[in-house]
Assembly symmetry: C2
Homo-oligomer: 451 residues x 2
C-alpha cells in the first residue's frame, strides 16, 4: 500500500488518537495543570512506544518532564533528532472560543483545540510518519530520536541544561523541528533565520518623594522628563538605534538575500490597511520583510510613571520605568548588546536623575544557510508532496531553543513547519488545517527516506 | 480691654467654637459628605450671624453652597471682601493620623484636625476679629463682606460664575484672603504672585492592535517611541520649553525682583539634601525661588503605555498617553498656551503615529505690585503684631480664584496668610500653630483699623 493510501486508511484512527491527546489540558504556565502536563507526557510516551520507538523515557526536570525515545537500527545512516513540545498556552478568554479548547472539534476541514497546531498536532505527524514506515517497511531509513518537552510555552527553562547534560544521548546529524508555519495555504516554507532576543528594564529616580508642581515645578528634575529624554536618545529620527556598536555583527544583506526576502514579502499596502496604519516605519533601505527578518530592533514595550488616573494631578513624579526588548540578528551577542545599552543609558542620564538598568532574558539569533544539504532535502520533500518548492524564510520572532540545539548539538536545524500563520496560536479558536495534516505526514515520510 | 487681653479672655471659647466646626467632615470631593458640607455651611452662617454680621445668606450653587454675609455701616470708608473656604480635603490614609482628623486635638501649641489651617482655622480668625471689634467698639472701621465657598478643594467650579453674577453684591475696594502661609515661624509673608495653570492630555495611537515585536518589530511604528519623541521635543537640553511662543508674555525679572526673590530664598543645598537630589534642575540664570515663583513650566505629570506588569512582554504598544500641566506667569494666556502646545504636538508627530490633544483646566497667573497701598497697610499690620516686616513672596502654586477675584471685582487682592508651610495641608496630621491663631487675630484687627 502506498503511503497516501495508508494514511487515508488510518486517518480516522489517527485523528481520534490526536483528539485524545488534545483533550488533556497540559497548560505549562498554570501550576494547577501540573498533573495534566504529566498526563500528556505519559500519553506521549505510550504513543511513542506503540509506534515502535524504543528507549522511551520520561526525564524529570525541575519543571515539567522531557520525553525521549529513539529507534537506532539504521547503521551507517544519519541520525535525525525530532524536537517538539506537548505543553500548550493558557486558554483565556474562554468565552471567545466557539467550542471548548479541550474538546477537539472538526469543522470545515480544520481541527479546533488548544494545541492543535502548536504543537501537539505537528509533533503527532512525526510519530505517525515513523509508525507508518515501520508498519509498511519494518525498518526506518534513518536513525531517529525524539525529544519532546513540556515547557516550551514558558520559555524552555530546563531544556538547555538537559541538552548540555545529555549531549551523548541526543547526538544527531540533524535536528528536525515542526513548530513553524507555511508561508500561506499551499506555499511551504523552511525557516532559515530567527532573531535573537534580549530584554531589560530602565528605572529612573529623582527626588525622594513626588513633589507638588506648583511649589517645585521648574526648579527640580522630573523623572518623566529624564526618562523620555533617555528613551528618545535610543533612536535617531530615522528609526536607527543610536546605541554605540549596536549594529556590530549584523550582516549586510547580499543581493541573494534581497531576492529571497522579495519572495516571502507580502503586499505592504494591504499590511498597512490591515493594521490601520497611515505609514509603515523602519530603517531606510529595507522592505518590511527585511526589517523584521534581517534587521535588529530596540523596542519600548512599556513605559510608565506618575499619574495615570482620570483628570489631572499636578505632581512631579519621583520615578519612571521602562521595559525594553531587542531583536537580534547575525552575530550580535545578547549580553554584549545589553551591556552596550546599559552604557548608553548611564552616559545619557540627565542632570539630577539617577538611572538603574536591570538585564533580563538573553537568546541568540539563529541562521542557517539555505544551501545546507539537509535543507535542500527538506525542500525536495516539500516540492514532491506540495508540488511547489518551499520559500526559505527568515522570521522576525525568536525561538531561542533553535539556536541552542544548533549550537549544543553542533547540527543543522531543519524548521519544517506545517501550521498556517492564521491558525490562532496563543489565541482563542486555535486550529490545524487538516489538509496540512495529510500533506505533512507524506512530507515527513518523504523527507526521512531522502536524508 | 485691649485686643490682646480680649482675645486672651475669649481664647478657650474661640477654640471650642472652632473645634465644633472642625468636627464636621465637610469633604467636598466625596459625595457621601454632601450633608456634612451643608452642615458646615449652616454652622458658618450661624456663627457669622452671632458675630454681628448681617444679610447672612447661604447661596445654593450647582455644587456646594456659598455663604455670604456683610456689615456695611462705615459710610465713606472702603469695603473689604473676605474670601475663604469651609470645605476640606479627603483624609486618607487614615492610619497615618495620630488623632482622628475630625476629632480636633491640641498638642504642643498646635491644633490638629483636617481643615485646621486649610482653611476653616484661617477664615475663623476673620470672623472672630470682626466680632471682637464690634463687641469692643460697637462699630467697624470699614465696610466688610464675607464670601466663603465650599468647593475650593475641588477647583471652585461654581465660584467664578457666582462672582460674575453677583458683582454688585460683592463689589469691594479690596479682597482679603487668608489661605496662604508665613514664610516660616515668625516671618510673615504677603503673596504677590501666583502662577497660572493649564493642563492637557496627549494620546498617541499607531496600529489598530498591539503587535508582536517578533513578527512586526522594526517594521511598524511603536506608539511609545512616537510618544517619547513627542514629549522629549517639548524641552531643550537645558530645560527650556521649546514650544514656539511659549515665553511670550513672561516678564523679565528686574533687579528689584531679583532682590525680593533673594529675600524669600532658602538654602538650596539644604533643599537638595532634603529632597535627596544630587542636583536641582531648571532654567539657567535663575535661582530656585525665581524658577518656581517667576518662570513658567511645562511638566509631565504622568506617562503610560504598553506593558507594566512583572517581567517582560514582547509587545509593540498601539497607544501611549501623557498628562501635562503648565505653570504660567505674567501675561501668558492659558488658552493661548494650550493652543501653542497643541500646535507643537500636531506638527511633531512622528511617521506612522496619530496624536490627539485634549485640553483641560485653565487659570490665569496673578501678580500684584507690592507698592499697592493696601498691601503696604497689610505689611504695616504684620510688622506691628509680629515685630518684623513681611516679605513679599511670589509663589509657584496656583490659586486661580485669586486672579478671578482680582479681575472680576477689579480690586487688589491681599493674600494675608497665617498658616505655616509644614502644617500638612492635604496630608495626614494637618494642624494650625496656635501662636499664629493668636497673632493672626491681632493682625487682622490692626489691618482693618488701618485700611
Amino acid at each position: 500500500m502506498d503511503y497516501k493510501a495508508y494514511f487515508q486508511t488510518h486517518r480516522d484512527q489517527h485523528l481520534n488518537e490526536l483528539k485524545k491527546w488534545l483533550s488533556i489540558p497540559s497548560i505549562s504556565a498554570l501550576s494547577e495543570h501540573k498533573p495534566d502536563v504529566k498526563r500528556a507526557a505519559e500519553w506521549l510516551a505510550e504513543t511513542l512506544k506503540k509506534a515502535g520507538l524504543e528507549n522511551v523515557k520520561i526525564h524529570e526536570t525541575n519543571g515539567h518532564p522531557i520525553v525521549y525515545a529513539d529507534h537506532l537500527h539504521a547503521p551507517g545512516q544519519p541520525t535525525v533528532l525530532v524536537y517538539g513540545h506537548y505543553d500548550v498556552q493558557p486558554v483565556d478568554p474562554l468565552n471567545l472560543w466557539d467550542t471548548p479548547p479541550f474538546e477537539p472539534a472538526e469543522r470545515d476541514g480544520k481541527l479546533y483545540a488548544r494545541g492543535a497546531t502548536d504543537d501537539k498536532g505537528q509533533i503527532f505527524l512525526h510519530i505517525k510518519a515513523v509508525e507508518a514506515i515501520l508498519q509498511q517497511e519494518k525498518q526506518l531509513p534513518v536513525n531517529i530520536k525524539f525529544c519532546v518537552e513540556g515547557e516550551e510555552e514558558v520559555g524552555s527553562p530546563n531544556l538547555p541544561k538537559f541538552l548540555e547534560a545529555q549531549q551523548e544521548l541526543l547526538k544527531a546529524d540533524a535536528v528536525l523541528i515542526s513548530d513553524t508555519s507555511l508561508l500561506e495555504k499551499g506555499k511551504p516554507a523552511i525557516c532559515t533565520g530567527l532573531r535573537g532576543l534580549c530584554s531589560l528594564e530602565v528605572h529612573v529616580h529623582t527626588a525622594n518623594t513626588d513633589l507638588h508642581s506648583g511649589s517645585y515645578g521648574g526648579g527640580v528634575p522630573n523623572a518623566l522628563h529624564a526618562m523620555v529624554s533617555l528613551l528618545d536618545s535610543l533612536h535617531d529620527a530615522k528609526g536607527r538605534v543610536t546605541v554605540e556598536g549596536f549594529y556590530e555583527g549584523v550582516p549586510e544583506l547580499t543581493e541573494a538575500d534581497h531576492a529571497e526576502f522579495a519572495k516571502q514579502s507580502g503586499d505592504e499596502n494591504k499590511l498597512k490597511r490591515d493594521l490601520g496604519l497611515d505609514e509603515l516605519y523602519g530603517e531606510e533601505g529595507y522592505t518590511f520583510a527585511e526589517r523584521t527578518g534581517a534587521r535588529p530592533t530596540l523596542e519600548l514595550n512599556g513605559v510608565y510613571g506618575g499619574f495615570q488616573g482620570e483628570g489631572s494631578k499636578t505632581v512631579i513624579p519621583k520615578e519612571a520605568h521602562a521595559k525594553i526588548t531587542c531583536r537580534l540578528v547575525g552575530h550580535q551577542d545578547p549580553q554584549d548588546i545589553l551591556n552596550k545599552i546599559e552604557k548608553h543609558i548611564y552616559s545619557h542620564v540627565p542632570t539630577g536623575a539617577k538611572a538603574t538598568v536591570i538585564q533580563f532574558e538573553k537568546g541568540n539569533a539563529f541562521t542557517i544557510d539555505p544551501s545546507t544539504p539537509i535543507l535542500q532535502k527538506a525542500a525536495e520533500a516539500y516540492e514532491e508532496v506540495y508540488g511547489t518548492r518551499p520559500v526559505f524564510t527568515r522570521d522576525g520572532g525568536s525561538i531561542p531553543i533553535v539556536e541552542t540545539f544548533s549550537r549544543v548539538l553542533a547540527a543543522p536545524v531543519v524548521c519544517m513547519g506545517f501550521g498556517l500563520p492564521d491558525e490562532n496560536l496563543h489565541a482563542p479558536n486555535e486550529h490545524f488545517n487538516l489538509e496540512n495534516f495529510d500533506l505533512g505526514l507524506l512530507t515527513i515520510v518523504d523527507f526521512l527516506k531522502r536524508v
